[in-house]
């Protein structure tokens, strides 16, 4: 089984300061939210690929993208069925659905769904890079540095700590119940859900027991009571990191500028707007994509410098 977790591959991207990666991901996240234009979104998505390549996390990334693909498909289908805006009708349903009316399938609605999907892909791709290249505890430390409450951050970190254990539990319990003659895929839909209870109940009860034991162990090691705490590992931003951090925010600034100039927007309804690029917008877009990609050479230079 390919594991869905961080693995230290010692690439330049892995060695990048978590704050820089967070800056980069945040930029992509915000730009993808404020910009509507499918060409922009596609370019942003493509701009994440060099980073994925540099981090050598293709296998994990592909898994995320497979999952994202199904999500996108769902978005396109649901949006196309529910939204009746758009003027180029592909198909009109011969029946009425209460509250929604007569479902109408339009070219615009399908493409709108596709545009939204691009947005999702760009964001997921960026998050995949972050989670697969950053040690969960480092991520936790940077969250704490950003003044998020320690206990909530710790809970998140504990959850990731126990995911492998949980996967083992599921495999073991399924073996046990299958050995008792359980066939998961027997019967109708409800029967199948009932079948799974034989796995879910032991899993949940075992996890509950585990929770108490983990709490006990943490308590025994002086956890809690809300006093001050040291963090052994420190995430230090050296001068070079600060520069990288600034560069990682550059695309965000470019994105905001694009929006501020009144561009980057795109109307799907009622008819598709013509895609056009002004000179200034093209320039800004180029800057945006370039500054997203420039993370790779910067990370490599940083790694070189630190090796010296």
């Amino acid at each position: 089984m390919i594991s869905f977790r961080y693995k230290n591959r010692e690439t330049a991207i892995h060695k990048l300061n978590p704050f820089c990666k967070l800056g980069w991901v945040t930029s992509i996240f915000v730009i993808a939210l404020i910009i509507n234009n499918p060409i922009h979104l596609l370019l942003i998505f493509l701009a994440t690929l060099p980073v994925v390549a540099a981090a050598r996390v293709w296998r994990e990334w592909t898994l995320v993208m497979k999952f994202a693909f199904f999500l996108c498909l769902a978005i396109i289908i649901i949006n196309a069925l529910v939204s009746s805006h758009g003027s180029h009708v592909l198909w009109r349903a011969p029946f009425r659905v209460p509250l929604i009316g007569t479902p109408v399938l339009t070219v615009e609605a399908v493409l709108f769904g596709a545009g939204m999907s691009l947005r999702l892909l760009a964001v997921l791709s960026a998050f995949a890079v972050l989670t697969f290249t950053t040690h969960p505890d480092d991520l936790m430390l940077s969250m704490i540095k950003m003044k998020l409450p320690y206990k909530s951050v710790l809970v998140t970190s504990l959850t990731t700590r126990f995911i492998p254990t949980l996967i083992d539990d599921v495999e073991r319990i399924s073996d046990v119940q299958r050995s008792r003659g359980l066939e998961l895929d027997r019967g109708n839909f409800f029967q199948r859900i009932r079948n799974r209870m034989a796995i879910i109940i032991p899993l949940l009860s075992n996890s509950l027991d585990r929770t108490v034991q983990v709490a006990e162990a943490m308590e025994s090691r002086a956890f809690g009571q809300g006093e001050s705490r040291t963090y052994y590992h420190e995430i230090k931003l050296n001068k070079f990191d600060v520069w990288i951090l600034l560069v990682s925010i550059l695309p965000l600034i470019a994105g905001i500028l694009i929006r501020w100039l009144g561009q980057g927007d795109y109307q799907y309804y009622p008819t598709l707007e013509k895609l056009s690029f002004g000179g200034l917008e093209g320039l800004m877009l180029a800057l945006l994509v370039l500054s997203l990609c420039v993370m790779v050479p910067l990370a490599i230079i940083k790694k070189r410098i630190e090796l010296d």
Partner: protein, 557 residues
Amino acid sequence: MIKIKDFTFQYGGAEKPALHNINVEIEDGEFVLVTGPSAGGKSSLCRCLNGLIPHFYGGKVAGRVEVQGLNTLEHSTKELATRVGMIFQDPENQLVTQDVEREIAFGLENLAFPRNLIARRIEESMDTLGIAALRYRPVYELSGGEKQKVAIASVLALHPEVLILDEPTSELDPKSAEEVLSIVQRLNDELGITIILVEHRLDRVVQHVDRLIALDGGKIIVDGGTRNVLSHNYQEISAAGIGVPPIIRLAYQLKAKGITDAETPLTVKEGRMMLQEVFQKISGKSPEHDEKSTGKPVIEVEKLWHVYADGPTALRNVSLKINEGDFVAIMGRNASGKTTLVKHFNGLLLPNRGLVSVDGIDTRKTTVAELARKVGFVFQNPNDHLFADTVEEEMGFTLKNLGLEGGEVRMRTDEVLARFKLDKYRKQYPRALSGGQKQRVALASVLAIQPRILVLDEPTRGMEYHLKAELMDFLREYAAQGNTVILVTHDVETVAEYAGRVILLSEGNVVVDGDKRDVLSRALLFSPQINRLVQAFGKYGVPDDILTMAEVLQLLK
């Protein structure tokens, strides 16, 4: 120094006290073994020493507990953490971060120690435990034994004066268990840390400990020097269901018969000294081999290979036959392929190459559910088995899965509940039962189908002595009725006592396959205690394939 005075504790919602009027004083630097049957109060005693009782577990408290001069009622678990360290049974559930170094730092960070001190303590405790090589390894990649060492290192980093270990080895294989125990022994010996070790397998530890405390029903039944207690309070200890090592049992029997009056031996070496005189005068015949099995083959494995998707080759060209009525033990190191092999017997795993047939049916041509009629499979942890609302329904689940209905289900349920003495629990929630009862319910739920072949994967790991004896007696009888019993285990003593045939795996190969007497005797460390004892007397004509106490007694008659 630890002082417990007139201490009584009752968990909130419990009907009777878990600890009843406990009075103990433990000196600095002592190595104390706490033992007793489950639910006897061992864990509760540990919890009251580091303040988990009453700060984490609420309830009714009377009396006082003082640890290194601090009253645990008035000082929080956090304050006590630098004085008392605690290690728990399941290594998995006490590691909270993602890698080893951070794990060791966790407690120190909580105590707000400065960074340079944390760095020093990490180095120290990693070196003490010999785990420096694991430093950056993610926790999920470690083996059970390594995890337990990390847990000990992370507690040791706080420099506790007292270390409490609550059954630290019951989830580990024998080799890791021995490593962990010898580390604990060294911490006591060289660093002078007071050790309180809870353990129900005495054979691993008696030679190391200074003092033995036995708890039963929340009360201290025996407390004293180890050797003294084991010779003078032998009866109380074994009556409480505590498993006494074979050598000590043998010594007790010999003394009772007036054959020897030597001191009770704690190690094999001392046992040999004790028997020197006795054995020099005696010679005899080897005990008879169990009859060669003659039943027809029920499981046939031919040239079986199994390779996990992203893992190592687990089985390499394994061929064997298991016959009707066999009682087979499958043994071997961790990751030697034991579990992989038996999972082929009911189709949970299918051969990558080669053939496995059960009752003449190729496992690739049928389903796990279909094979479940013939092959019952009991896994180690009953908590993975149990999910129904009542014990009765738990039986019904297996039976209905296999297509039985109405009257038949009721009849079989009644039958199996009666056989396992579970009648009075039939309407109870199975997960709320005690450990031993849960084990029985899990076993019953598998045996309700009356499978001709029964596979058990480490059923006795972490199980206390009398429950183990009960289970093994049942299995022996089940095999005697013409059924096949296949046991995956690390427990040499149990195999010596009960099994007929032993298959030894290593690196996915069958290394030895034969009668237990041939496999287990004359081996180096793999032999049971009694065999290691008699091996030295081969030159006097004592048969060196004696495996159990009963056989020695037979010889001396």
